[in-house]
């Protein structure tokens, strides 16, 4: 419990939240000298804001109806070989407990899922056995490990690796990861999902809460509770009649419509997760679900620095503009077949972005590839482009003056294409140019090209 309330605290917290990195540290250091008690409180609040970034975002009623109006039978002291420590989660079929398993040789913590809801019935039991079967087959560092499953005292239980960590968004916020680091973290998730897909398992409920990151920064997927095996022949759901259970905010359009769920549905959910991780909010404004998502950069830009821990700096939305926008929007396409064909393809595109290469999501745009090339080889390209565009501009100018507007437009297009062709040729001679420039213009200034 904090000391007596200080009326200055809210303002100080607001000011600190608007600063980042070194600036924030320096500001806090100043405050610490003047008011050590207040400074500590501000620091604590900043830490809890980062850890609980999404907390209270959803109105209480909606959280309540999503899981609370169910029986609360006292948990058993132990289930099979597991001693129950405390409850850590709950859902439609049962609860999840932190439990301990102790044998002569080892002692470990496990996440123990127990189905103890009245009325779960055959369907629930079948889903449970299915999850156990699926998990036993999935051994990957990015997926919470399966230990044991069974039936005892009238309950099904499932023992999984207990991951000590925080969920993806909280981790990224608390560590203050930048865009590249966030993408790097997310690639771990994509690799784990791709592994599951290659084992013909679709997760179907990918969301930040099901992705935990441990203190070492390793991400792990949890909760394959509603995952399923895909029939490789038809790619259809073998258990189509089972109870639909998923998280609407992350579910793909086909999932919401109750249609066939494939790897593309996981790709979509991952798109939502990445969006939230990078832009700080979900793709759809409340009530606007079903329309086209806003580009992440636009959404990030709109998020005000005043909105708590989800501080988005100018740099953040600038990072997203263009390639990352395109990548996320491709993952979020309404039509499943227009999305990335696999988690691996999604990952490959993000790796291209990290390497500064043209991304698949924007393929086809000639102009785009040229621009990308230009960014990688800024100096020589700028000089070549200046020369060519100056030429194009003068030709266009003359023609427009002679009022042959349509023809002028056509010629301008030709000139532009010519310029772009020249740019692509410039790629080939770029290495030579770079070498020449480094000698000719040590100050970093390009040689000048006089317009004709």
């Amino acid at each position: 419990m904090p000391a007596n309330p200080d009326p200055r605290l809210p303002d100080l917290f607001a000011r600190a939240s608007e600063l980042e990195g070194d600036a924030q540290a320096a500001w806090l250091a100043d405050l610490r000298r003047a008011e050590p008690g207040l400074a500590r409180e501000v620091e604590e609040l900043l830490a809890s804001a980062a850890a609980g970034a999404s907390r209270f975002e959803t109105p209480a009623w909606e959280l309540w109806t999503a899981g609370a109006e169910q029986g609360d039978a006292a948990p058993p002291a132990s289930v099979g070989p597991f001693r129950i420590v405390r409850e850590i989660g709950r859902g439609g079929m049962g609860r999840v407990f932190l439990a301990e398993q102790e044998t002569e040789n080892f002692r470990r913590k496990v996440a123990l899922k127990i189905v103890d809801r009245p009325g779960v019935g055959e369907d629930g039991a079948r889903r449970f056995r299915e999850e156990a079967r699926i998990l036993a087959a999935l051994e990957h560092p990015g997926i919470a490990r399966f230990y044991d499953a069974g039936w005892t005292d009238g309950r099904w239980y499932l023992a999984l690796e207990y991951v000590e960590g925080e969920h993806l968004l909280a981790f990224a916020a608390r560590r203050g990861l930048d865009t590249r680091q966030r993408v790097g973290l997310f690639l771990q998730v994509l690799d784990a999902v791709d592994f599951a897909h290659r084992h013909l398992v679709v997760h179907r409920d990918l969301k930040p809460g099901n992705i935990l990151v441990d203190a070492g920064g390793a991400a792990k997927l949890l909760d394959f509770g509603i995952s399923k095996m895909v029939d490789p022949e038809t790619a259809t759901d073998a258990a189509h009649t089972e109870t639909r259970a998923f998280t609407p905010a992350y579910a793909s359009p086909e999932q919401l419509r109750g249609e066939r769920v494939t790897v593309a549905s996981d790709v979509y959910s991952l798109g939502v997760v990445l969006y939230e991780l990078l832009a700080g909010c979900r793709p759809f404004e409340r009530g606007a679900e079903g329309s086209d998502p806003r580009p992440p950069s636009t959404a990030a830009r709109r998020m005000d620095a005043g909105d708590g821990a989800r501080v988005t700096t100018n740099a953040r939305w600038r990072d997203l503009t263009g390639d990352l926008d395109a990548i996320m929007l491709k993952a979020l396409r309404g039509a499943a077949e227009s999305r990335y064909a696999s988690a691996a393809a999604f990952a490959a595109d993000l790796r291209r972005w990290l390497d500064g290469k043209p991304v698949e999501a924007r393929r086809g745009g000639h102009r785009y590839r040229m621009a990308k090339f230009a960014r990688r080889h800024r100096v020589p390209v700028i000089s070549a482009a200046l020369a060519i565009l100056a030429l194009a501009a003068s030709v266009t100018g003359i023609l427009v003056q002679s009022r042959h507007a349509a023809r002028a437009a056509m010629i301008a297009r030709e000139q532009r294409d010519f310029a772009l062709r020249q740019l692509s040729r410039a790629e080939a001679i770029n290495d030579l140019n770079a070498l020449l420039l480094s000698d000719v213009a040590p100050g970093g200034r390009p040689f000048t090209v006089r317009p004709p």
């Binding site: 809890s48 999503a66 989660g89 998923f246 005000d304 005043g306 821990a309």
Partner: protein
């Protein structure tokens, strides 16, 4: 002042009467305020119960819609000022909190609910509230916040329990949207620390 007898809550279900109550309350009639609270509580409680029964699996109760619908149904739109609307919504948010807390208490006391379906196994870290105990914990923490920093606590009540928009909250409290955002961020951090 209208010498009406406000003693029967059932008598004020019609829009005109709730509007009169709202006017009387704003003019300083505390009895009208008390009655308004009763009417609103009963109304929201019934509506929440009906909704929770009717919703399909996987759906949630839309707080914002519920509060605004109540307003449209209970208040005569032609006779009300914009400021009244804010006061009504704020009061509704308080009542939403009370209804939920009562429901959580009843649940913890062992009464069975109507077995509304859950969405999925939720990870405790991702949800703010997911059991009766947690609702009550948040409620108590919010009371402590009210004692220390009343305005940010009001913002939480209106937003987290009442589903009101930042703009609406600003209008009720007479502060800018930017200040509402700051209060909201502060209160969330404060509560997250309390509940950690």
């Amino acid at each position: 002042m209208d010498p009406r007898d406000w003693s029967d809550p059932k008598a004020v279900a019609r829009p005109g009467e709730v509007t009169e109550l709202l006017h009387a309350w704003r003019a300083g009639d505390t009895r009208a305020g008390d009655l308004l609270v009763k009417v609103l509580y009963r109304e929201l409680h019934d509506m929440a119960r009906r909704r929770l029964r009717a919703e399909r699996p996987g759906m949630t109760l839309q707080t914002t819609a519920l509060v605004h619908e109540t307003y449209l149904r209970l208040v005569d739109q032609r006779r009300v000022e914009w400021r009244d609307r804010g006061h009504f919504l704020a009061l509704a948010a308080t009542m939403m909190r009370r209804v939920l807390v009562d429901r959580a208490r009843a649940r913890r006391a062992g009464k069975r609910g109507s077995g509304e379906p859950a969405i999925t196994l939720t990870d405790a870290a991702s949800a703010g509230v997911n059991s009766a105990d947690q609702v009550l914990d948040v409620d108590r923490a919010l009371e402590r916040l009210t004692a220390a920093y009343p305005r940010p606590a009001r913002v939480v009540e209106m937003r987290f329990f009442g589903g009101l928009e930042l703009e609406e909250i600003g209008a009720v409290l007479g502060i800018t949207e930017r200040t509402v955002k700051r209060d909201w961020a502060f209160a969330r951090a404060w509560l997250a620390r309390e509940l950690a």
